[in-house]
């Protein structure tokens, strides 16, 4: 009987399910979910003001979500290597295997985030509050960050056989995007302060998903008036819907490009 290729999409969904339930069984999803649940309740208990809690939450999300996405992605990839190799022996498209696994991990992480934060906020009366849009934006951005950083870490793990090296690069990537990038960004702004910098600084924000998410959330908060203070370019960007649209398109690119690279690399890699 000739070997039969499985339908790629069906196979992908099946692998996605395996990874998803695997994470559920290993209880990491629950831990992550409970962490956000606790965080949400504590925040709301402490200041009881939804819109203020949203701001505090933003600070947590733009630092923590990428970190957890990165660590989880790398860990899962290395851990399930044997299973992956088993799957590779089957007549399944390689991109289906890797993208299925990726979506399983990223999906489970995003779900923990959305439910973990969503439940306390809903209980505290989110639907009656006008913070609902800010909050949804926060969750959407958080989900995007999970997708982006899990994809990036899968890429790193795929390119590095050595676990220690892979872990090191992944953490370094997080450190770079979360902290060092902003430092370099700031230095370049100060060094070139004689030049018109608005377009440059907007562009520089686009090239870092963490900065991008931060500005996207700030855009929707009142505080955006502070940013618009600087000049006409900022004012146009932060004062109109152009900023939101461009930021979302860029987040989309940030998610899509690592996934494409993942499936491209996976096809060519010699296991």
């Amino acid at each position: 009987m000739p070997s039969r290729q499985y339908h790629p999409i069906k196979a992908m969904i099946k692998i996605l399910k395996y990874s998803f339930y695997d994470l559920m069984r290993s209880r990491w999803s629950y831990v992550y979910f409970l962490f956000y649940l606790l965080l949400g309740f504590v925040l709301l208990f402490l200041n009881n003001d939804l819109s203020k809690a949203v701001i505090t939450l933003m600070n947590v999300i733009i630092v923590l979500v990428p970190l957890i996405g990165t660590i989880f992605g790398v860990m899962y990839f290395y851990n399930s290597k044997e299973f992956t190799e088993l799957l590779l022996a089957q007549p399944i498209k390689r991109s289906s295997i890797f993208i299925g696994q990726y979506l399983g991990v990223a999906g489970s992480l995003s779900m923990s985030l959305v439910l973990g934060l969503g439940i306390p906020f809903v209980i505290y009366g989110l639907f009656e509050s006008n913070a609902i849009w800010d909050f949804s934006l926060l969750l959407i951005t958080g989900a995007f960050l999970t997708l982006i950083f899990t994809a990036l870490s899968f890429n790193i793990a795929l390119s590095n056989e050595n676990k220690i090296k892979g872990f090191g690069y992944a953490v370094l990537m997080w450190l770079f995007l979360a902290v060092i990038y902003d430092g370099l960004f700031l230095m370049s702004l100060i060094v070139f302060e004689q030049y018109p910098l608005d377009s440059f600084s907007l562009a520089a924000t686009m090239f870092n998903p963490i900065d991008l998410s931060r500005t996207l959330i700030l855009l929707k908060l009142d505080i955006s008036a502070l940013l618009g203070y600087t000049g006409a370019v900022f004012k146009q960007f932060f004062g109109t819907y152009i900023g939101v649209v461009i930021s979302f398109v860029m987040l989309g690119f940030w998610t899509l490009i690592p996934i494409l690279r993942l499936s491209f690399k996976a096809k060519r890699k010699d296991f």
Partner: protein
């Protein structure tokens, strides 16, 4: 000033008791127009204007009269020009609705203009569809009380001010509401003015604007959602007390702008949700006491050339930046304020934090130098360098500290007992 006030309040009654002539103006009366009424009236008469619409403009009041509206009669200027011009002392306007002032690019048409007159009282007017509202020109000792001015200004270049004082002295502007004009209240070369309990909101430019006016007081006013709050420029000895500056929120907005102001007293005010609470430039010897700065972008932005100012007993709560400072020199005093960003402790329980508070953050210093860096607002990196600067200050003024920060907010009207 009190006695003067009493005097001019009493004057119309004095006139009435002498002559007690009342001329009634209405559509079916003997006198059907206000102009006609003014023409036939003798000094100190009262024109009682009954309910109705009077299509008149250029009404010139050249003798001491009282124009009293009954049931809000409307004077419609049909946008042809100025409506009422007062050129005599002792004129009272009361209870009129004045609409449709003409707009002009060469003349400042007003609903009510007072020219070189004294002892007037303008009260309970409602002004709508106006260019300029109440315009005082070299007029003294008057009172503008409880008027409602609602404009429909869209652009600065073709709109006028609600209440404008030009070369006028000893005027009280009280309990007025001014909305949607260019400047709510505008003072130029006007001294000894009291601006009390007014509400000025949704104006295109400033809620209140001072130019070259000295020894004035404004107290208990609310300035909300104006293009740029209140601007006080080139004036001396101004007292600003218990006012509320709220939601002047926009890219170039501020609650209060001080430019070239000396010897002023700013106390008991509340600055809430303004892009910049107070923007200070070239202002010296000013006392800032017992003010609340709540949720502003910048609570105070010091632009330079500001010396010997004292900030004592203020509350700085939840501002993105407490103070922005653009130089390394500091000659201003910050003492016994409450800072919500303060993280120190009070071991000896005397109500003051044991370690000094530095209100200028490194980030605020950097933003002042390179405004574009504001894009890094709330990023992790900024928190880290702010922290390191807090531990060992390098860039921010060394002596700009509050050495006795309060542990709890100042509650208004209760003075802290000093040890």
């Amino acid at each position: 000033m009190r006695t003067l006030l009493l005097l001019f309040c009493a004057l119309p009654f004095l006139g009435n008791s002498l002559k007690a002539n009342t001329i009634i103006v209405c559509a079916s009366c003997e006198v059907t127009s206000i102009k006609e009424g003014v023409r036939i009236a003798s000094d100190f008469d009262t024109l009682l204007i009954k309910k109705g619409t009077y299509k008149e403009y250029n009404i010139r009041i050249d003798k001491p009269l009282t124009l009293l509206g009954e049931n809000n009669p409307v004077i419609d200027g049909q946008e042809k020009g100025e409506i009422i011009t007062i050129v005599s002392d002792n004129v009272t306007l009361d209870g009129l609705v004045i609409v449709n002032v003409g707009t002009s690019y060469t003349a400042d048409y007003a609903a009510v203009r007072v020219v070189k007159s004294a002892d007037f009282l303008i009260q309970n007017l409602v002004l709508e569809k106006l260019f300029f509202g109440i315009y005082l020109e070299k007029s003294n000792n008057g009172k503008i009380y409880a008027n409602k001015i609602v404009g429909d200004a869209v652009d600065e270049y073709n709109s006028g001010n609600g209440i404008q004082l030009w070369y006028s002295k000893n005027i009280v502007v009280e309990e007025n509401t001014v909305q949607q004009v260019r400047d709510g209240i505008y003072l130029e070369f006007s001294d000894n003015i009291g601006i009390i309990n007014n509400i000025s909101s949704n104006n295109l430019r400033y809620g209140l604007h001072f130019m070259f006016s000295n020894d004035d007081l404004y107290e208990g006013n609310t300035f909300e959602n104006n293009g740029a709050g209140v601007a006080v420029m080139f004036s001396k000895k101004i007292i600003m007390r218990n006012n509320t500056f709220k939601r002047n929120w926009g890219t170039a907005s501020f609650g209060l702008l001080l430019k070239e102001i000396n010897d002023a007293d700013i106390s008991g005010n509340t600055f809430e949700e303004n892009t910049i609470g107070i923007n200070i430039e070239g202002s010296n010897r000013i006392n800032y006491n017992d003010n609340n700065f709540i949720k502003n972008g910048w609570a105070i932005k010091v632009r330079g050339a500001c010396y010997t100012n004292a900030f004592i007993h203020n509350n700085f709560m939840y501002n993105s930046f407490d103070i922005a400072y653009n130089s390394n020199l500091n000659d201003n005093i910050f003492k016994e304020n409450y800072w919500s960003n303060y993280t120190g402790y009070d071991l000896d329980k005397n109500g003051f934090g044991d370690i000094p508070y530095r209100p200028v953050k490194l980030f605020s210093y950097i933003v002042n130098r390179t405004p574009e860096t504001i894009i890094l607002l709330r990023s992790l990196f900024m928190d880290i360098i702010d922290f390191s600067e807090k531990v060992s200050p390098v860039f921010t003024p060394d002596d700009l500290v509050d050495s006795h920060p309060l542990m709890r907010p100042v509650v208004r009207e209760t003075k802290i007992v000093k040890k």
